[in-house]
Each structure stands twice: as C-alpha cells, then as structure tokens.
C-alpha cells in the first residue's frame, strides 16, 4: 500500500477514488460486491454522517450507505481532481 492509498472512511468528501481492495472476509466481500463494490470500481465519496454514522458514496449512479467500520476496510486510491 503506497502512501497515496487510504480507506474509504478517511477519504475527503467530494473526491473520486478507485477501490484497490477490501480488507475483510468472504461475507463482507459478498455483501459489498452485491452493491457493486469490488476491486477496480470507481466511486465518489459524498459524505460522512456525523456522530459515527455511515459513509455515503456514489457508485454506478447509485447512492450507497456503508457503516463506518465497514468503510474502514475498503482501501481506495484517490483519483486526481479534474
């Protein structure tokens, strides 16, 4: 993991990123994949809900809410701003 990599939870809001990997078991991978989240996918981080709430992202034109702890397991690489 290079220094450019971070986890979805810590990615700043409004930034596009590519998913580099998911640091979790088969169960979590399957749940995430069901909503289209897998390696190589591009996502846009919308926001973190306050007080330990979920992370909201846009993927394939759909909004998805991901629990904080799960979002800590999704490794992403920020894409350069256009």
């Amino acid at each position: 993991m290079t220094s450019r990599h971070t986890v979805l939870k810590d990615l700043p809001c409004g930034i596009d990123a590519e998913i580099m990997g998911i640091d979790g078991g088969a169960g979590i991978q399957a749940r995430l994949r069901a909503l289209g989240l897998c390696e190589g996918k591009k996502v846009q981080k919308l926001c973190n809900v306050r007080m330990g709430g979920p992370v909201i992202i846009m993927i394939d034109r759909a909004q998805v809410a991901i629990g904080k702890r799960m979002a800590e397991k999704i490794i992403v690489r920020p894409l350069d701003a256009k």
Binding site: A34, G53, A62, Q63, A65, G67
Partner: protein
C-alpha cells in the same frame, strides 16, 4: 404449490426495489404491498396470469442481489428459483450494470428466461438509454423494456412470455456464457471445461458485465431536478439530521390530526345511527341478565356507554370501528408516504449510530417503524436483517416496547383527557425500556457487530394508486384479523366475569398485581385479555375505575407484557421456539420490573 419440483410457471426474480411487485400486480391483478426501499417483499405471493386462454401461475419473490443469499428473505427466493419453470428477470434500467450480476447467475441456471428492463420511464427521465437489441444479442435471451408503473411495454412482454417455452432449454445465441452455479464452489474448475459448461472466473464475469453495459448504455445530459436537490439536503450531514427530526415530528402530528378528526366523525356516526338500535335492544332485553351483559354489556348510570359497557354489540363494534380504525387509516396513510417517497432508507442512515447502541444497525429502524402499525409485519420484516442476532434483538424490542396502532389509539383514548403528560410518560417509559433492554441484549449477543450497508433509492413521487392499494390492503387486513378477535375478547370478558372465574384468578395473582404493581387485583384481567387483543385490553383498563397512577402503570405493563397471540405466533415462526421463549422471558421480566419501578417512584 409448495411441493418440490414446480413452484410456478413464471417466477419474478430480481434485485431489491426494481419493481417486481408492481409488475406482479400488473400481470395477475393481485394487490401487493410495494414501497420505495429494498426489502419490501419478505415472503412470496402467487397469482394467475391468463394469456390466450392459458393459465400461468406467477410468483413474486423477495428481491435478492445474488443467488448466494445474504439474508433470510433472499433464501426464500433461492428455493423458488430451483423449482420455477420460467424466470422473468426484472431489472432496474437505471442500474443495469449492478443488476446484470444477478442476471448472469440466473443464466447459469439454464432455465427459460426473459429479461424485463423495468423502470424504463425513470431511465428516460434520467437520460439513460439502453439498446435493447444489443443487450438481447449479448445475453442470448429475450429482452423487453417495460414500465410496470405506467404499463408501457406490457404488451410486448406478454407476447414474449407466450413465446418462451417451459422446461426446455432456451436457445443460447452466445456459446460461452458463464455457468457459475452458486451451490457448487468451483474454485478448482475455473476457466476449464466441466460437465460441458464453461466456468469463468468471477473476475472475468464482472469484466464482461462492465463491457456489456458500457456497450449497450448511452447517456444524454439531464438537468438538476427537484429530487436531486432534496437528495442533497436529506443526506447532508447537518441538514439531514434536522430533516429526520422534522419529518418524524410532522408525521406524528399528521397521524394525530387525521386520526382525531376521523375518531370524532366515527363517534358521531355511532351515536347517530347505532345508539338507537342498541338502546332498543337493551330495553327489549330488560336492561340486565346474561344475554344483556353479553350483547349490550353493563349500563353506566342507566345508559349504554360505547366505551365502558363492554357488550359485544356495543364496545365490541365501537372499539374496532370508531376507536382503532381511524388511527389505522391515518397511520398507514402517513407511513405509506414515507415508504413510497423513499425516505425510510434515509432515516435508516441517520438512525445508524443510535441503533448501534442497541446492537443493531440503522436498517432495523424499518421493521421497527412497521411494528408501530402492527407488530406482526414488523417482526416479519426483520427478515431483511442479515443475522439471527439482529433479528432476535429487533423482534424482541418490537415485542417489548413498540405498541401497535390499535393499542396506541386506545391509549390516547384512555389518557387523552388527563392532558399530554400521562401519554408522554407512557411513551417515554417505552422508549427508555427500548434503550435499556436493547443495550443489555447487545452485551448478551456480543460476538457480532452488525454494519449498515444499503442502497439509497432515488426519491420518487408516490403514485396515488399504490398509496390507495396499500391503504386498502392494510385496512382490510385489520378488519379481517382483528374485528372478530376484539369481539371474542369482549365475549370472553363478559362470560368469565359472569361465571366468576376472574375472581379466582385475581386472588391467585394478587401478590404481584397488588403488592408489586400497586393495582387492584382485578387489573390482571386486562393483562390476560391483552393476550387476545391489546386494544380491547386497554378498554378493560379504562372500565376498572383506576386512578391515574394505576392507569398509567397498567398501560405500560400491558404494552410490554406478553405479546398478543398474533405476534406471539409469528415470533415463534420467525425466530424458532428457543429464541422465541428467550424473547418472551425477557419480555415478562422487563414488564414486571417496569411496573414495579413506576409504582415505586410515583409518589
């Protein structure tokens, strides 16, 4: 229909919230509950489609993202897929790529199948175009663009259904579609011939899906619409939380406003039309005697009182029709708007951190909200939660601390004239109990920490027809299941009182009821009646001449106490006997403690 081998001629399969239930209603004419969030349908319903003189049985299954089921609702679907003759794969045109993952798993089942590209009206509005012919070539199965809501494309869908043969293998244009059977983990065989199928590595399938969707989809620019703006506000970290509070408060006020007015209208009608009839009956029966006390009940100051007389034909009709039905209508009207606009998943997002404190994640708010209408559908809806632990906690909390609309309507009726604070005290105690019990349960089932992962559907304008259908179904459900039970409960009270059985029970239980809870020993009667119907039980409480403290204590205990038969039986069915018994034990203990605490602290 349940027998193995054949579930149906046509099975509707698709990811959650793609419009399967709307399409099912269009095909069969059968009413279904449809809502704008994932997980509305948690068990299947079946109906008949008549096409060219031939009957086809059609089944609407719960939505599933994948044939590897992630929750109990999706397991239902998996069993159905195995035994269906034909499959209509319903797909959300606005999220083609994600939906195709399930399509490829279904293709591997080698069943006759066609693809219905639903929500094509919404796709058009969003500027998404799908080339149907190209998609057909890629998949090798018939593809039709439809809109289940507007009915567009239905004719072509029907003609294609007739053309898809049952049982036989469909002609597959493309020789190498992936055959990944979910039941057989095929790690060893990936990329190699196996029993005549070609197994592709999942990664290749995803790449292929991405290629297909980029080949068939094209986009035109769209302008920023009102719903986009609303979306920005309701998921905004600051405004969103505020909006959640405003929406909940407004919903509550609207339920109250509509409910109150309907109650007043219903009471007026009862006095005008029904009172003269039962008054004559009472005079005819001579004002007393066994028959009189069963049919008319006891006279209060020489008069029939619909709320207190407790005859089958007086209170037995007044409670369901004039006290409860108005609130059923107002509650479900408001809930349906929240369901159909798509607000509930957004509420789940903002409740997530609160729900974590009781060992759940935000989506558990949806079964809980449904439980406020009636605990039965609430407990059923826990199927959308992924683990047994979450289902257990959610269902137990619903049973303990979520009073159903019939009960709430009666509580408002019984306490309303004392002002706001006794009602606030009842609700406050229940919310507190919900938190405390949830907090304890979280430590009891500590191995697992659930995490929210949900799709947030776009805001949609509720369709009036869908609202009307849902309201009709829920009112009908209430009348069908509840009317006779309320009358039975009242009949039971009358007969047992008359026979003097209650005295015997009341003496037996008086140590708890009187010493622990500070109520007259008779208060055990409504608690027992509550097993049949909680609304009728609140009615018994208000006819007992209790003081306010006793009334509030009694109502809180009743709300928490043993669930009514209907909820108890789904609890057993959904959780299994062992967990249901655990749940009931927790319910009884917490109800006893809560009653004692109120009695103790209320000076």
């Amino acid at each position: 229909m349940q027998n193995k081998g054949q579930c149906c001629d046509i099975l509707l399969v698709g990811q959650p919230n793609v419009g399967k239930s709307v399409l099912f209603s269009k095909l069969t004419g059968i009413r279904t509950i449809t809502s704008n969030y994932a997980g509305t349908t948690v068990s299947y319903s079946s109906g008949i489609l008549n096409l060219g003189g031939q009957d086809y049985t059609v089944i609407d299954a719960p939505g599933t993202y994948s044939l590897e089921p992630l929750d109990d609702a999706a397991k239902v679907t998996l069993d159905l897929v195995d035994s269906a003759k034909r499959i209509i794969n319903v797909v959300d045109s606005t999220h083609l790529e994600r939906n195709l993952a399930l399509t490829f798993e279904l293709l591997a089942q080698k069943k006759p199948m066609l693809l219905a590209l639903n929500l094509s009206d919404e796709a058009r509005h969003k500027g998404i175009n799908i080339d149907v012919d190209k998609l057909k070539k890629h998949l090798g199965i018939p593809v039709v663009a439809v809109s289940a809501l507007t009915g567009e494309g239905m004719n072509s869908l029907l003609s294609i259904i007739q053309a898809v043969p049952a049982g036989a293998e469909i002609p597959v244009d493309e020789p190498s579609h992936p055959a990944h059977h979910p039941h057989i983990p095929d790690t060893k065989h990936s990329e190699e011939e196996h029993k005549g199928h070609i197994h592709l590595d999942p990664k290749n399938v995803w790449r292929k899906i991405a290629d297909i969707s980029s080949d068939v989809e094209s986009f035109t620019n769209k302008r920023h619409s009102f719903t986009d703006w609303l979306d920005d506000v309701s998921l905004n970290p600051v405004w969103g939380a505020l909006m959640a509070i405003v929406v909940l408060v407004l919903s509550f006020l609207l339920v109250r406003l509509i409910g109150e007015n309907l109650v007043a209208a219903a009471e007026y009608l009862f006095d005008l039309l029904w009172f003269p009839v039962v008054a004559k009956l009472s005079a005819f029966l001579g004002g007393h005697g066994f028959i009189h006390s069963v049919l008319v009940g006891s006279l209060i100051d020489g008069q029939i009182d619909f709320k207190q007389s407790f005859g089958v034909l007086t209170s037995g009709l007044f409670i369901p029709f004039a006290a409860v039905l108005p609130y059923i209508v107002s509650f479900y009207f408001v809930l349906s708007i929240l369901e159909d606009t798509g607000y509930l998943p957004r509420l789940a997002v903002f409740m997530d951190s609160i729900m974590h404190r009781v060992g759940l994640h935000g989506y558990a708010i949806i079964p809980t909200m449904l439980g406020l209408g009636c605990n039965v559908p609430g407990i059923l809806a826990t199927r959308v939660l992924e683990t047994k632990e979450q289902r257990f906690i959610t269902a137990t909390l619903i049973s303990i601390a979520v009073p159903c609309v019939p009960m709430q309507a009666m509580i408002i009726g019984a306490l309303g004239h004392y002002g706001v604070w006794p009602i606030a005290l009842v609700y406050g105690s229940l919310i507190l109990v919900w938190f405390i019990v949830g907090f304890l349960l979280k430590y009891y089932v500590k191995e697992y920490r659930p995490e929210l992962l949900i799709e947030i559907p776009p805001y949609r304008l509720p369709s009036l027809k869908a609202l009307g259908t849902k309201l009709y179904m829920r009112v009908w459900e209430f009348l069908k299941d509840a009317l006779w039970l309320v009358m039975l409960a009242i009949l039971a009270v009358d007969i047992l009182y008359y026979a003097g059985v209650f005295n015997y029970i009341a003496d037996l239980t008086s140590p708890v009821v009187t010493a622990l809870w500070g109520m007259p020993k008779d208060a055990i009667i409504p608690l027992l009646i509550g097993i049949l119907r909680k609304d009728a039980a609140v009615g018994v409480f208000s006819s007992l001449n209790l003081d306010l403290k006793q009334l509030v204590t009694g109502i809180v205990i009743l709300a928490m106490f043993f669930p009514c038969v209907a909820s108890f039986s789904v609890l057993v069915k959904e959780l299994g006997t062992k967990y249901a018994l655990k749940s009931i034990t927790i319910v009884l203990i917490s109800a006893s403690i809560a009653g004692a605490l109120i009695n103790f602290f209320w000076a």
